[in-house]
Amino acid sequence: MPDSPESTTPSEPTSSADEESRRQDDDLVARTQAGDAGAFDELIVKYSPRLYGLVYNMTSNHDDTHDMLQDIWSKAFRSITTFRGKSAFYTWIHSIAVNMTINFLKKRTRRTHMSLDDVDSGIHHDKDFVELAASSTPVREANLNELQKRLNEAMQRLSHDHRTVVTMFDIQGMPHAEIARILGVSEGTVRSRLFYAHRQLQNFLSEFLS
């Protein structure tokens, strides 16, 4: 398998940082269960950026992402009394997000318009993005707008399951084990889905990879 999670997860937190984060989460969850709404707000603030990336890269639509995030947090708030801490809150909230987003995608009618061009044109002025884009593709003079568009289209052509693992592994930098826990499948299944998803993406984006 060509996948190498270490190479694509440069900012993986250390285990001690993970443990500290989990302790904080457990404390916030306990306070929420005791009726402290402010504690739940802290969880929202902490995890919304990651959930936004997850949902947005699965839906490719900012409005849908916004609606989904509200649904996800509402459901989490309603269900938090049933959360017993068997898994990390991080895993639990990501499982809710993935399941709700996949259900949403199954119901959603095929969209002809992607909002990416309208909303994210601002990142073309981001120096880091431009440098990374220039180094990522041999087509140096490639139009960044076109590159974004093709990336988005390629993602949308993947199946829901394949798009989910690509989003979690390649974009969000989660390790295989964590993805497997969130999706409730084996690590082998995660690796297999990634392998086929990458092959499809290489075909869709061949002009940027050659």
Binding site: H66, D120, L132, L151
Partner: protein, 181 residues
């Protein structure tokens, strides 16, 4: 280009999507919207669910033993059965015949006297006309009570039965004056 190189390039391309972030201040707005959604959800929830939650919260806050829970549950069940049973026993059966007096509502008594029937007119010499009227009890009682409250109460109906005379449609003051000879 080898497959590994292609794979690395693809990963680098996909990492570009990390830059796609919402505009600044978005997450503050999201927090407000989530709060709004929570309130809306709360309003949409059925009352029995809210009541159940409050009961659960109450019991979770007041940690009691299993015996206490069993006792409380038994008390609630017994109380419920008592209320249920009493509501059944109060219902009259079809064969039982209770007092029927209350079923027939008596017609209200009209204490006003029909003036047209009780009024008689007398014609005197010179064209003077005297109309004799028996006013309603309450009219007289009220008018008397305004002047002589204590006396009106004492005499009551007796003063009300005194006739009233009207000459040429002008009422004659028949009431007793406070001065007596």
């Amino acid at each position: 280009m080898t497959e590994d190189q292609q794979q690395q390039q693809l990963s680098a391309l996909l990492r570009l999507k990390r830059f796609e972030q919402p505009p600044p201040g978005y997450f503050d707005k999201l927090l407000q919207d989530v709060h709004r959604r929570q309130r809306a959800d709360l309003l949409r929830r059925p009352a029995w669910k809210l009541a159940l939650e409050r009961v659960q919260t109450f019991f979770s806050e007041h940690s009691m033993g299993y015996g206490a829970y069993a006792g409380a549950t038994t008390a609630v069940v017994v109380a419920g059965l008592a209320v249920f049973g009493s509501s059944f026993s109060e219902k009259p059966g079809p064969a039982t015949s209770g007092p029927v007096i209350a079923k027939t509502k008596p017609a209200p008594v009209n204490i006003l006297i029909d003036r047209t029937n009780s009024e008689s007119a007398l014609t005197l010499g010179g064209g003077a006309r005297i109309a004799m009227t028996s006013l309603a009890e309450q009219d007289t009682a009220v008018s008397n009570s305004r002047l002589f409250p204590s006396k009106a109460i004492r005499e009551g109906v007796i003063s009300a039965r005194q006739p009233r005379y009207i000459i040429d449609a002008l009422p004659v003051n028949y009431e007793a004056t406070p001065v007596s000879f």
